[in-house]
Assembly symmetry: C2
Homo-oligomer: 323 residues x 2
């Protein structure tokens, strides 16, 4: 099994590649890691790993990569929600046209039907919705990012139905705790208010503590992708995209978990700075989903925010909380 990862330089992509290098899926023969800047290959893999450059907005380049006919294509590449909202053209060009170029390149290869694992998002949902959001609830995204993801889900289903590929779309919860530097995602503060204080730094909270959201740790997200590599996708039927199981928590509950892990001093590093733009974007997002379909298929969620924090401290901070 040869696996190609697009968007491999991103946070999930890097962790996914490292996880495969440390503990390969049975039959994994080669890994190709692509991004707009060549990703770093993980050390110690027992199989060949190649890293390369791919700009999804260059359809010819996409076709050249696909011509190598990998068995599995993991597509994680996206312009994040805040940037897709600020830059209409770039958001559609990368998130929609780029994904379409990938599917078209696959269609262009005769007798080729790879598994395509597509990172969708809970941003496909928009208010008003019941809580939890049912599995068969309509998608009314309130951002261009969510619109682009929902359109790609439709393409993925149609290309699958026509036998051109074997697709699955994973509606990822917000990833928390996202390591590294802040990006332009409007959801960034959900991680920031934990990650920064755990490292002894100030963090900004732009929304109220009562805000509830749907989270998954980086470990859980990598678990979703690995499970999607193994799963018999015929079990999905025609509905090829589905909600991934998450952890529903309020900002206040996140802060309480931080207090338990790192004490009052860490909590005091969170600075309230209401931001009406972020508040409005976040207000349209899902807080809780019915993910029973994914659970029945074997996808698993994080047990608690305490566990999420503990995993972050282990994976990113060498076990040490700043004091």
């Amino acid at each position: 099994m040869r696996v190609m990862v697009i968007g491999a330089g991103g946070m999930i992509g890097r962790r996914f590649a490292s996880a495969l290098a440390a503990d390969p899926e049975p039959g994994l023969a080669a890994l190709e890691l692509l991004d707009t800047v060549a990703p770093e290959a993980p050390a110690g893999a027992a199989f060949p790993v190649e890293a390369g450059v791919l700009d999804l907005t260059d359809a010819a380049a996409v076709a050249r990569r696909v011509a190598a006919r990998p068995d599995v294509i993991v597509h994680l590449s996206a312009v994040v929600s805040g940037e897709a909202e600020a830059d209409f053209d770039k958001g559609y060009a990368v998130n929609f046209d780029g994904t379409r170029a990938l599917l078209e390149a696959i269609r262009g290869e005769a007798d080729y039907r790879p598994r395509v694992i597509f990172a969708s998002s809970i941003a496909v949902y928009g208010r008003p919705f019941p809580e939890p959001i049912p599995e068969d609830f309509h998608l009314t995204p309130l951002t261009s990012y969510g619109t682009q993801k929902a359109m790609c889900e439709l393409l993925l289903a149609d290309y699958t139905r026509r036998g051109l590929l074997d697709g699955i779309g994973l509606r990822l919860p917000t990833i928390c705790i996202r390591p590294g530097a802040p990006n332009r995602a409007a959801s960034g503060f959900f991680s920031g208010i934990l990650r920064e204080p755990l490292a002894g730094r100030e963090a900004v909270l732009p929304v109220d503590e009562s805000v509830r959201h749907w989270h998954a740790s980086p470990r859980a997200a990598v678990g979703f992708l690995r499970h999607a590599m193994r799963l018999d996708l015929d079990r999905l039927g025609a509905a090829r995209s589905l909600a991934m199981p998450g952890l529903s928590a309020t900002v206040a509950e996140q802060i309480e978990a931080l207090r338990r892990a790192a004490g009052e001093r860490a909590v005091r590093l969170i600075r309230r700075e209401p931001d009406p733009v972020i508040r409005q974007i976040v207000a349209g997002w899902a807080t809780r989903l019915d993910a029973s379909r994914a659970l029945a298929l074997g996808f698993t969620a994080d047990p608690s925010f305490d566990a999420i924090i503990a995993a972050h401290v282990a994976d990113e901070l060498d076990g040490r909380i700043a004091s």
Copy 2:
């Protein structure tokens, strides 16, 4: 109010233009009728009517037309379901890329926010679904045509949300009785089994009589479009596309209405000729929808198949049924 109709040469477009000519909406100042072949302008309009050629796959031509900045754009143009299924490229090029070119042309005009009335379809739904299909049910189309319509609905909502236009998507039931010659729509027989016998001709029935479907007459469809011209679209909220009210009936019920209108001799003109391809496409379609949202907004359905047949005989057959 200047109105541009794209796809004005089609069956609904022609009837819509004639209806406006005979009984104009208040404030209607000009009508521009566009299609791949210049449509015939209706006679007797008390306002200027222009007819022209527009190929939706020619983005520059679309932009030139939009530069005239009509107040209302009615977009009816589409490659029908059977053809979009048979010709992957053409279906996506016209139904999706053509619609996107229209929305992009509108975005390209500064300080311009026309009303856009988009003809969507019940083909956006796909089995499995409950019956009736709830208003907030997810869209899992089982044809490329339905996929393209659902993707356009998402674009329409996003462009509306961004203030680039004021959009409404009407999920039209299958139009029955469709006058004129058969087209390549897989749903064509629903009309054929009534239209042809009423004119003394044989018709082919490719599915079982137990097949249930969701219908609207041409008169009802024109009524939907006219109502969408007048409606305050802010009442739609963010969910800009909605199910139009229809008449749910089985093929057997259609045939009974034919028997009441035209007698046993007409019914005997229906020849059973099972077609597994059409049967399979139709089996994925909606049979009954909850259209209470549209009903609450003032859209109205046909009362019965007897009324649909009577309207067809009046409008298309000069009141005469073949004997």
